[in-house]
Structures are given as structure tokens and as C-alpha cells.
Symmetry: C2
Subunit: 356 residues, 2 copies
């Protein structure tokens, strides 16, 4: 089992394992006797054995409906009710076993119940393992606005088990790959090279390669989080692909998965970067080809690109007039900029629309 330490205000560890028994050993080791499980129907059905084995120390379990719709105030309230019924106290640890939705909603509940109880993140999707389970961001959607209500609240620890990835459907798996490409392309050239070189084994979900990319991504995320816990500057690098990606995700009425929207976002933002002279054509092409290899989209003709700017400007990250982007200026490195004008964005999008 690997261990990555995240030196946030409240330090914690991310454990990466390929043996499902490790989680019980960790609970034993840390004398955690009293947990409340939050998961969703899919995860519960796929990993019944894993969850049932925890039942001797579980004082309750809440099984959510899968999907983004569960990220709502109603869900939050229904979990509060269950916690009260189960007599949860400050020694209880919430165990959030699932993807981003389970992790986000559980994190919010844990951070607000009794002014904060412990939470253990047990991410089961590739996206959650390499990204959302680390760093303490949580939240839910309200009035159509994604994550508009949420807090920063670091977990007690994160337990990543590679075995969960074996049961993921193709679309969910690819969605996670999209985030890992993001880490490589915007933050770490060696990770990007590794993915290029081992793309077939990654696609086939070979344990060795999965362990490597999850370890690497988690380490990058952890090191960024500890330097900018509250997303005030450095952490915004991780918005690469997400500024346009989030807008595209809403414009598709969530027909595109988060990872698909992000892969389109990464390509469009990198194209912007190429147009203003930061990225070379072959660097842009290496990204496009990798996206294509994993059968992720890099463009979608059905989206009304005219609306993108309006949506980006409503995004909660907006402070100045120009939109803030995290743009790669070479493979493995990105910068934060508000230098791109709206006209430049429109010009790029039209150019691509004509060409692709």
C-alpha cells in the first residue's frame, strides 16, 4: 500500500492499494469503531461484499440514487435525518464510498453536521480517485448552479483501491482518464509521457499502469492542495479544461459526462493557447491524438458555442471582466491568465467550427 501525505492545515494521508482487505486493516489500525456509510445503489450492488464486511462497525448506511440529481439540498437533509436517527456523535466517521457525487455530498454533510465530524473518502471511480476525493472541496447544486453551495473540509484520510476501477463502465473510466491527461498536460510532463507510452495498457486497465497514474495524479493534487488549500491561486491551474468544460457540460444539458466536457474543454483551451503563441502545433496535436486514442471527444458540433461566454461569465470563479483561464504554455506546465479577450475566444471557436 502506498501512502501520500497531504500537509494541509489539517494533515492527512492518501492510501493507494490494490488489495481490498487494506481498508479494514486501516480502520483497525486507527481504532475507528464507529462509521456511518454513504454510498449509491450502483456502488452498493457492485461492491456488496466490500460494504457488507464493514457492517460490524457501521451504525448506519445511506444509499443514494446514482447520478448528479442526488447532489441536492434534499439529499443533504435526508442524510442529516439519518445521522440523527443513528445517534451519530463526534467519534463517528462518515465513510463516503462512491464517485464524485457521493464524495461531494458526504463532504458537505460531514463538514456541517455538529460543526464538523470526521469523513473518510473511499473513491470508487477513476475521476474521484485521482482528483475529487483529495483536497476537501465539496458541494451540491442549487437552482441549476453547480456546486454553488459547499465548503472546504479536509478528510480524515483517503483510501483509494484500484480494484474498484475494474467494475467501472467504459464511459466512467474514460471520464477519469480525461482528468489524468489534465494533470499530465498542465502539471507534469513525465506523467504525460508515461500516458503516451503506456496508453494501451492503461486502456486495458492493467494494474501496474493504473497504480502509476493514480499515484502520480494523487501526488500532484496533494502537493497543489497543500500549497493552496482554499483555491485562491495555484490550485486554479487545475481548472485547465474546466473553464470551457463546465460551460459545455451545462450547454449539453449534462448529456456529456464531466470527463467528456473536460476533454473538449482541454482541447479548446489549448487551441486558444496555441493561437496566442504559447503552445506549438505539435504539442497541441499530441493532446488531440491522445484524447482521440481514448475515444474521448475534443469537439462537439451540436453545442451552441455562442452561449459559452455568457455561461462562463456566470461561473462562480469570475471576478474580473475577462474570463480567467489556466492555459498550458508547454506540455506539463500551465499559467493563470485573464489576458484572453472574449473576442479572441469567439474567433477561435468559429475557426475550429469551420475546420473540424
Amino acid at each position: 500500500m502506498d501512502e501520500i501525505k497531504v500537509n494541509a492545515t489539517k494533515p492527512y494521508s492518501v492510501y493507494i492499494s490494490n488489495c481490498s482487505l487494506d481498508f479494514k486493516l486501516l480502520l483497525e489500525d486507527k481504532s475507528i469503531k464507529n462509521i456511518f456509510i454513504i454510498t449509491d445503489e450502483n456502488v452498493y450492488n457492485n461492491h456488496k461484499k466490500f460494504i457488507d464486511e464493514l457492517k460490524d462497525r457501521a451504525i448506519g448506511i445511506k444509499i443514494l440514487k446514482p447520478g448528479e440529481e442526488s447532489k441536492s439540498l434534499d439529499t443533504v437533509v435526508s442524510i442529516y435525518n439519518e445521522l440523527l436517527k443513528a445517534n451519530v456523535n463526534r467519534e463517528t466517521h462518515i465513510a463516503a464510498i462512491g464517485g464524485g457525487v457521493v464524495g461531494d455530498i458526504s463532504g458537505f454533510v460531514a463538514s456541517t453536521f455538529m460543526r464538523g465530524i470526521n469523513i473518510i473518502q473511499v473513491p470508487t471511480t477513476l475521476m474521484a480517485q485521482c482528483d475529487s476525493s483529495i483536497g476537501g472541496k465539496n458541494g451540491f447544486n442549487y437552482k441549476g448552479l453547480k456546486n454553488i453551495i459547499g465548503t472546504f473540509y479536509q478528510p480524515k484520510f483517503v483510501y483509494i483501491d484500484i480494484n474498484f476501477l475494474k467494475t467501472l463502465n467504459e464511459r466512467e473510466f474514460k471520464s477519469g482518464i480525461s482528468e489524468i491527461i489534465k494533470y499530465g498536460y498542465a502539471c507534469d510532463e513525465s506523467l504525460f509521457s508515461f500516458i503516451l507510452k503506456n496508453k494501451s495498457n492503461i486502456k486495458e486497465r492493467k494494474t501496474k499502469e493504473l497504480l502509476y497514474i493514480v499515484n502520480k495524479s494523487a501526488a500532484i493534487k496533494g502537493s497543489i492542495v497543500e500549497r493552496d488549500e482554499l483555491d485562491l491561486n495555484l490550485r486554479q491551474i487545475l481548472n485547465f479544461g474546466h473553464t470551457i468544460g463546465h460551460a459545455i457540460e451545462s450547454l449539453s444539458y449534462f448529456q456529456l459526462s464531466h470527463g467528456e466536457a473536460v476533454s473538449i474543454g482541454m482541447y479548446l483551451e489549448s487551441y486558444l493557447s496555441y493561437k496566442i503563441g504559447y503552445l506549438k502545433w505539435e504539442e497541441l496535436e499530441s493532446l488531440r491524438k491522445l484524447i482521440e486514442f481514448f475515444k474521448l471527444p475534443y469537439f462537439n458540433k451540436n453545442i451552441n458555442y455562442g452561449e459559452i461566454i455568457g455561461i462562463m461569465q456566470k461561473d462562480k470563479k469570475k471576478i474580473s471582466n475577462n474570463i480567467k483561464f489556466a492555459l498550458p504554455d508547454k506540455v506539463g506546465h500551465a499559467i493563470i491568465t485573464t489576458d484572453i479577450t472574449n473576442d479572441q475566444i469567439i474567433e477561435c471557436l468559429n475557426e475550429l467550427k469551420g475546420r473540424l
Copy 2:
């Protein structure tokens, strides 16, 4: 204007002033141009001028119904709606102008909206000025449980204006006095002596004495908060009077004010301390006489004292079997203990019931 620095994880200042103009100067000084005001009907009616003068920089105002009932999920949601309508962004500062209810609900909203926006606490009651506005605890009541949902979230700064105290009704003023007696009796002998010596001027709300006791209490609170931001140990000293007090407050169906319940709680807990040999009889009597001088209660025959233990055990602070108390062992000093058995509590209460 006095300034007390609180070195919490996120450091901030508590300003104490007796000139209402200082608040606008502070906003000017800190280039805060965009505020959203949360207050209640009473405060708004009593301090229309103060609030209206802020309107040039206010992008919205939410006026709550006064009273504990506003500390609800419904209120939280209605404020979220107003913040969205007013297009609040991350540069906006919420200005919470009011007593504990306004401060608590505003703190929760600020900590959860957009994963945290700035909040300025402008406490208008004595209780909020000397206690609840400092330290970042917030929350609302749910299913009859006080503050069961909440977070720790430090303000940008706290502005305390002594002038607000002049319009407080007698009962609210006395409620604050109860907390200040707590600081003196449990934490600072010199403050307790000052109150004893200047009790008449304090009762008449003389500016000089008010400034002294608010300054002193705020400084004590600040120094405790910076050493134990998350209420894990030291800060529990401030529960003196509150362990029994909270139970009495609910048992009275909130007919007793918080301060009245706390003054009863302080006397009963000090009596416990006397019975187990910590406090001397004359120390206990000096507390009782001071409570009496301010026409606060130290006992209430109508309360069903048999139920107190059950209620205290449901309290969210409970972890071990015995109830945790902060007991003064001499004037100006208290200790945390779980040594008191339930039988001892019952014995004391019965003894007092017979005597008083």
C-alpha cells in the same frame, strides 16, 4: 478605536469603538465596496440611520424576523435565494448586523455560499459583542436540536460598537452580563473584581465601564479561540454555566433567555464545584450575590430538574459516559472534568431544591 488581533488559522481583528462613524471608515480603509447586509427587524428599526448610511455600497439586504425561530434551514435557504438574486460574487462581504441569531445564521450562509465568502460581524447585543461574534462558530437549529448544523468559519473582521448597547432592552442587556460574569469567574480574576467593584456603573451602561468589560471579554475570547479554534479542548472552558444552562434553556421551552439559563447554570455548576471541594463557600457566594445584583436568576423552582441529566447526555458535546463539565476551581480559573457522576449531580440539585 481599540483593536484586538485574533491569530486564528486565518488571522483577523476585532475593533471596539464608541463612535458609529468608525464602521464606514473601516470599510473605506479596507476598500470594501460591495456588501450584502443581513439584519433583523428590531435592529433595522432601532438603527435605521446606521444601516441606511451603508446603502451606497450594499448590493442587497435581508431583514430577518427577530428571534430564535429564524435560526432555521428555511432562513438559510431564503438567504441563499437573495444572494443569488443580488449576484453576490467572491468580492462581496456579508455584513451581519445584529445579535447572536443574525450572526450565527449569517456565518453559516457565508461559510457555505460559493464554498465561503467574506463575512464581517457587527454584533449589536452585549452577548454577541463579548462572545458569539468572535471565534467563527455558527449554526442553526434542526429537529429541535440547537446548533446541530453549523461550521467553524472565521470572519474577515469584527466591528463592535458600544453605542448599540444603549438601545438594548433590559433583558437582553442582562443576558450579556451573564456571559461577561462567566469570563470573569472562569477565566480572569481581574475582570471579575472589576465587575464587582463597578457593578453599578455597568448596570447603568456607562461607556467607560462597558468599553472595559467588552474589551476584556473579547480579548479573553480571542486568546482562547486562537489556541483552540475547533473547540477540541481549551475552548471548552467557556462552557462553564452552559452544560447545565443549555439543558435548562430547553427545559424552560425557551421561556428563559440564554443569559438567564446560563446564570442558573453557572450557579448550579459552581455549587457542584463547591460540593466536591473545589470552590470555597465565600467564592460561591460572591458569584450568587453578583448574579442577584444584576437581577439575573440563579435558580428556578419550576424546572423539572430530574430531566436535566437526560438532556445533557443528548447534547452534542457528549462523548464519554459521565457528563463533561467546565468547573471553576477558584475565582478566575476553571478546569475541564468528567469526574462528576450523575448521582452527584442529582444529589446537588435535590439539596438546592430543598434549600432555596
